[in-house]
Symmetry: C2
Subunit: 367 residues, 2 copies
C-alpha cells in the first residue's frame, strides 16, 4: 500500500515516450511518411459510458502525418512536447502548462517559423500526448494550477518529508497540483468529505471534525482542481474510502459533484484517471432543507441558475438517473437555493455535530 | 518574539466590545438617544498618507443614532455584529462573512422585520465595527476566504500543533484565512518572496529554492488574500524580514504589488493592519526584459491593459514616485508585457538559480 501512484513507473513512462520517437524513427528508416495515431477529440467522439458511469472518448482515431501541410505543425508540436516531458521526467522536475509553452517556443533554424505561437497549441499537444501515451499530464510532469487544503488522520511521505495531516493547525496541508508521487504511510479514516467551500473547511477544521467523524476533509473553492480530483481518487481506490461531496443546495453544487464523479467534457480523454464514479452526493438536498428547517434561508433562483439547470437536466448521466431527476424536479419546483453556510444560523458547529453525523447514520446519499 | 499577534489580547478584545455595549447602556440610563461614532468611509474621506505611504481614511466621523429612522437599522446591525463577535471570541471560534450574515439574520419578535436582509448589510456592519473597535475582522474572529501556500525554514505553533514549513513536501502549509494566533517559534530566513503565480511557487518549492536563497516563499494566485497580507506583515514587523514581491512585467502585477504595499481603497480603514509600506518590488521590470533577453516573449497590451495603466498612473502613491513613473513610462512605451513564466525558456530553474540571486545581489528594487 505504501507506494506512490507513479514512482514505480518512471522507467515505464520514459519507455512509453521513447517508444513514440522510436516509431517515428522507424517510419523514416523505411522511407515512409512518419505519423502519429491520435484518438479524435471533440463532441462527435464524446459519449457517456453508462456501464462505468463516466464521460468518455469513443473509438474514433485519426493519423497525423509529418509530410502533410495540414498536419506537420501539430505533428512537430506533439513531438516537441514529448521531448520536453521526457526531459522533465529524467530530471525529476515538473513544469506548468504556461511554462511548457515557453520551453517549447523557438524559431526553426534558417526560417522565420516558430514551432508554437500560442499556448493553445501546446495545450492541445499536451492533450494529444495524454491520448497517445495513456498517461495524464501529471504523469508527464506537466502540472495544473494548485489550490485547496486537506486535513485528517493521515500520514504521507512527499519528497522525503513525512507529513501528518492531523498536525497542521488551522491551515492544513496545501494540496499540490500533482499528487502522483505522494506515498500514503498511514490512513486512519473511514471516509473523505469534499466541501465546496473553503470557509466550511475552516469551520470543520477548527472543530477538528475530522477526528470526531473519523474522516479526511478536503476543499478548494468551487470546482475541484485536477490535483484534488486525483487525491480523492487515490484515497478512494487505494484505501477504499468512500468519498462524499457536500455542496450548497443549488445547480452549481450539483455540477461540482458531477465533475468529480462523472468527469467533464473537456477532460473526457482522462476520465479514467480523474473521474470517480464511486463518489456520492451527501447534500444539501431539497429534503434537507425541509428536514433541517432551512426554508427561512431560501435564495430565489436567478435567470442564470434556471438556464444552468436546463443544461444539466439534459446531461445523459443525470437524465438516466431516476433519483437525480426527482431531485432536480424538486429543486426546480422550489425555485430557490440554500447555502451550506445557512446551517450556522443553528449554531456554529451544527453542521459537523448534527447534520453530518445524522446523514452518515442514515446512509441516504444521492448516487 | 514567540508570541501570537492577538492571543495576548483576547481579554482586551472582549473589553473593547463590552465597552461598546456599556456606552450604549449608559446613554439609555441617562435617558439619552443612544449612538455609535463611526469614521466616515467612502471616497470623500479617503486620502493617501504620504508620510506613512498608505491609503488611509481621513478624520471625518459621524454619529449613528438609535432613535432615528434613517439610522436605527444600521445601529442595530452593528450592535448585533458586536454581540456575535464577543460570543465568538469567548468561545475561541471563528466564522466567515457569509456565515456571520446567517448567524445574525432573525426576525424581531412581534414584527415582520428582519435585522438583516442581505449580506451587504452585515459586511458593512463588520467594517463599521472594525472602525469603532480599531480591531480587524480577523481579530473580531470573522474570517475571509482562505487561499495560498507557504514554505521555508520557519517553525510555527498553531492550535497546539508545531509546524515546520520546511518539511511539507511539494504542497507547503495551506495559509489559513486568519493568522493572528500563529506563534513563530523559529524564523531562519533573510527575507520573504511573494510570487504572483502559484505555478512559480511550485517551481521554486520543487527546487527547495527557499533553502538555497535562505528565504520564505509565499504565493496565492493573483491578489494576495487578507490572510497572506497579514502573514507578510507579521514576518516583516515581528522578524524584520524584507518582503519582495515578484510579478509579471505588466500593470496587473504592479497592482498586486500596490495592494500589498499601500493597501487598497475598499480596505482603507484597515490599512494600518494590512498595508506593508516596507514591501519592495523585485521584478519583473522593463529593464529585466532587456537584461535577460526576454524580448522574444513580449505579449502586446490589449485595450484592457492600456485602460488599467491609465488608472494606475493616476493613483497618488504612484504619481508621487519618480522611479515608478519612469517605470510605468517604460512599460507604456514598450506596449507589451512579459510573464514570469517566460524565464523557463532559459531553463526550468533559471529564475531561482540566476535571476533571483542576481537581483538580490544588485539590491535594486522599486519602492
Amino acid at each position: 500500500m505504501a507506494e506512490s501512484s507513479s514512482a514505480f513507473s518512471k522507467k515505464k513512462r520514459l519507455e512509453i515516450l521513447e517508444g513514440i520517437g522510436r516509431e517515428v524513427y522507424s517510419h523514416i528508416e523505411k522511407m515512409e511518411n512518419p505519423y502519429l495515431t491520435i484518438t479524435t477529440r471533440g463532441l462527435s467522439n464524446i459519449k457517456y459510458d453508462k456501464e462505468n458511469r463516466m464521460i468518455k472518448l469513443g473509438e474514433s482515431t485519426s493519423k497525423r502525418y509529418f509530410l502533410n501541410t495540414g498536419h506537420v505543425r501539430k505533428f512537430t508540436q506533439t513531438l516537441a512536447v514529448a521531448a520536453l516531458s521526457k526531459n522533465l521526467i529524467e530530471n525529476d522536475k515538473h513544469t506548468s502548462l504556461r511554462s511548457a509553452f515557453y520551453q517549447i517556443r523557438r524559431t526553426i533554424p534558417g526560417t522565420k517559423i516558430d514551432i508554437v505561437d500560442d499556448q493553445a497549441e501546446t495545450n492541445k499537444s499536451i492533450e494529444d500526448l495524454e491520448l497517445i501515451t495513456d498517461l495524464t499530464r501529471e504523469q508527464l510532469n506537466i502540472n495544473a494550477n494548485k489550490n485547496g487544503a486537506v486535513a485528517g488522520e493521515v500520514i504521507i511521505e512527499d519528497r522525503g518529508d513525512v507529513i501528518d495531516w492531523s498536525k497542521l493547525g488551522s491551515g492544513g496541508w496545501a494540496i499540490p497540483s500533482n499528487v502522483e508521487d505522494i506515498i500514503f504511510k498511514k490512513v486512519d479514516a473511514k471516509f473523505v468529505l469534499y466541501f465546496e467551500k473553503s470557509t466550511m473547511f475552516e469551520r470543520a477544521n477548527e472543530d477538528k471534525a475530522w477526528r470526531k467523524l473519523h474522516c479526511v476533509i478536503i476543499s478548494s473553492q468551487g470546482q475541484a482542481t485536477r490535483g484534488i480530483r486525483r487525491l480523492l481518487q487515490r484515497l478512494s481506490r487505494e484505501h477504499n474510502l468512500p468519498v462524499y461531496v457536500l455542496t450548497d443546495a443549488d445547480i452549481w453544487g450539483v455540477y461540482i459533484y458531477s465533475a468529480i464523479k462523472f468527469g467533464s467534457i473537456t477532460l473526457a480523454h482522462v476520465s479514467d484517471k480523474l473521474a470517480l464514479p464511486e463518489a456520492k452526493f451527501l447534500g444539501l438536498t431539497v429534503e434537507d432543507i425541509e428536514k433541517y428547517d432551512l426554508k427561512r434561508h431560501l435564495i430565489k433562483f436567478k435567470d442564470v441558475d434556471i438556464a444552468r439547470m436546463k443544461q444539466i437536466r439534459n446531461y445523459d448521466w443525470f437524465k438516466n438517473s431516476k433519483e437525480w431527476m426527482a431531485e432536480l424536479d424538486k429543486m426546480e419546483k422550489l425555485g430557490a437555493k440554500v447555502e451550506l453556510d445557512a446551517f450556522t444560523a443553528k449554531g456554529l458547529s451544527f453542521i459537523t455535530e448534527k447534520y453530518l453525523p445524522d446523514k452518515l447514520k442514515e446512509g441516504k446519499f444521492l448516487d
